[in-house]
Amino acid sequence: MALGLSVIFGVVRVVNFAHGEMMTLAMYLALLAFTALKLDPLVSMVPIAAVLFAFGYVMQAGLINPFINRPEHSQFMLLVAVALILVNVQLIIFGPDAKGVQTRYSFDSFQMGKIIVDASKVYAAGAALVVAAALFAFFRYTLLGKSIRACADNYHGALVVGLNVKRLYALTFGIGAACVGAAGAMLMAVIDVTPAIGPAYTLLAFVIVITGGLGSMPGALLGGLLIGLTEALGGVLLTPSAKSMFAFGLLVLVLLFRPQGILGKKPG
């Protein structure tokens, strides 16, 4: 999920404040796929990512592109409005109650000595690594990926060499949204969904990408790992109710001593 946010910001330079809400949309799609078609969330992840890709592409091409050169507060308000609309539509359709899926491995766990690991989380983590590897390969080895990176590196240069930047932006937003779609489907195997959970995950994604470096894909992975470990260790060693505090503490330290994030590039 954080990877999607980082990809979108890194290329389009738009901060997607509807990220968490797009994730809950993907979670509800996974729920529908499970209840209607008995599709495991780790399987429905692929079509849901495709649906979210289309959603992201249309959103960027039809809604965000006109805002690209407008002040940042306009972009902010636009995406907050999208987030609110998504939450309320989900509330109308699915209601406020928490809904979950019960897969055949929902209650499984792996034991290694004294350590017990949740099977759903292991599978979801594996799927996340595959998605991340595919994304890295796409940006590094395909012509389209290289074009997108060119747009990110030098907007005017990309225009000069004849790249269709607006189309590439729409594709990038679509790819970022596909990452969110995959993340939402994977998360459905781990937690229950309610329309209200989006903002908390948007915030978490921000904490992760700012810690790792906004716009840096390896930074997003590192940030996710660091925030997860900080929360878990803070919870186990001190008090679980304050585990978010440790994540934000780490964020404050990063902002103080390395404002561009751990793997982020210094502006200019």
């Binding site: 406020p96 109650d97 928490a98 209650f107 017990i116 229950d192 878990a232 008090t239 679980p240």
Partner: protein, 403 residues
């Protein structure tokens, strides 16, 4: 009739109306009751559950010979500020009595409004003690305070340990970190001291975020304490999350003792099916042997066959019962007369365990008794206190991997 005669007659009618003992309010046939519940937001499920009984109450109240209530609904959106503004709005729109609001934080805000505006508030559910410790004249609570819930919980635990021959030596206390959970946590240690016969010692206390989506760290910490019993104060979503984590982390405590909502709720039973069996909830419940409880359960089961009668229904119904009873006795919808009538309430034929509904000088029903309810085969079985029970308790909890 000439002009003078007409004026005389009209004047006489006007004077008669002005000095009549029955003013317009007193002639009202129905009482306008503003029902404030969290029907959206985090507590939406519980708010909707409380509201189910609101529509069913009219028929039962009529059978009891009580007057009708005109219900005005208000959604607190699980938000203290919204609760306050909704209470203000309902009163402005003509509510003559308020009922609500499930959550202690929201109820505290509504109680302040009710007291300022001089409109009686009958609390259906809210356990934080300070609500009835403010010297309010218009606030009444037919629901036990956190210390009362805890006291009855320990008394019922002793009864259960005695009946089952089980006596856990250690326990870990986990609680949701909201107004209710914090109040229960504060009261827990103090009330435990008053029950020296309780066999277990607390080895750890773990608070967790009410909006948490993942409680694996919390359960890992609880498991590491190696306690015999798990004592809980939670809500619905976290109760489900905690149970899933208990299964995944392969830990079945000897006893799971809950002192709050969540573990006995239908959504919990439906979601977890056989994994939901075993926990014992120490909650304000209903006495299955009382006549009115049987009537309410029958009406409720007919309307909602998939849903068990529970705390939310019982205490919301009793709040409406108190309102209708007071309205009948007051013979008026005047707020002060209503408040005086509520203060003098004495309802013996009620639903909840204990001698009945009455209020002390602070507006608290201090005679309420808590029950112990065990999940068994998807059903809720009252196992204590003995005088309001329907079966014997079963301990230890059956291991999750053997179900």
């Amino acid at each position: 009739m000439n002009r003078r005669e007409f004026n005389k007659a009209a004047g006489a009618v006007a004077v008669g109306a002005a000095f009549s003992p029955l003013n317009v309010r007193a002639q009202a046939r129905t009482l306008k009751v503003g029902v404030l519940l969290p029907r959206s937001g985090v507590q939406a499920g519980i708010g909707q559950d409380c509201h189910r009984v609101v529509g069913l109450a009219a028929g039962i109240l009529k059978d009891l010979g009580l007057p009708g209530l005109e219900i005005m609904n208000g959604d607190t959106e699980t938000n203290v500020d919204v609760a306050r503004s909704r209470a203000e709005r309902l009163i402005s729109e003509g509510a003559q009595l308020l009922v609500g609001a499930f959550d202690s934080g929201q109820t505290t805000a509504i109680a302040q409004v009710a007291e300022q505006r001089g409109i009686p508030l009958v609390i259906n559910i809210a356990a934080a003690p300070p609500i009835t410790e403010q010297g309010y004249k218009f606030v009444f609570r037919n629901f036990p305070t956190a210390p009362m819930i805890l006291g009855d919980a320990f008394a019922n635990q002793l009864e259960i340990f005695q009946q089952t021959g089980q006596s856990p030596k250690t326990a870990v206390f986990m609680h949701v970190n909201d107004t209710f959970g914090a109040a229960m946590q504060k009261g827990f240690a103090g009330v435990l001291q008053k029950f020296p016969a309780i066999p277990y010692k607390l080895v750890d206390t773990i608070a967790y975020d009410p909006a948490a989506r993942d409680l694996s760290v919390e359960v890992a910490k609880a498991k590491a304490s190696n306690a015999d019993a798990l004592v809980m104060v939670s809500r619905l979503n976290d109760a489900i999350l905690l149970t899933r984590e208990l299964v995944k982390q392969r830990w079945t405590p000897q006893a799971i003792l809950s002192m709050g909502p969540g573990w006995y709720e239908d959504q919990y039973l439906k979601t977890l099916t056989k994994l939901g069996d075993g926990p014992i909830s120490f909650v304000p419940w209903f006495d299955p042997n009382k006549k009115l409880a049987k009537q309410l359960e029958a009406v409720h089961n007919k309307a909602f066959p998939e849903i068990n009668l529970n705390t939310n229904h019982v205490y919301t119904f009793e709040a409406l019962l108190i309102a209708a009873d007071a309205f009948k006795r007051a013979g008026s919808a005047d707020p002060k007369a209503l408040a005086d009538a509520i203060r003098a309430t004495s309802i013996k034929d009620n639903v909840s365990p204990g001698p009945g509904i009455q209020f002390d000088a602070k507006g608290q029903n201090d005679k309420l008794k808590g029950s112990a309810v065990q999940n068994r085969g998807g059903k809720l079985v009252v196992v204590a206190p003995k005088e309001a029970s329907e079966a014997k308790p079963e301990l230890p909890v059956r291991p999750y991997d053997k179900r």
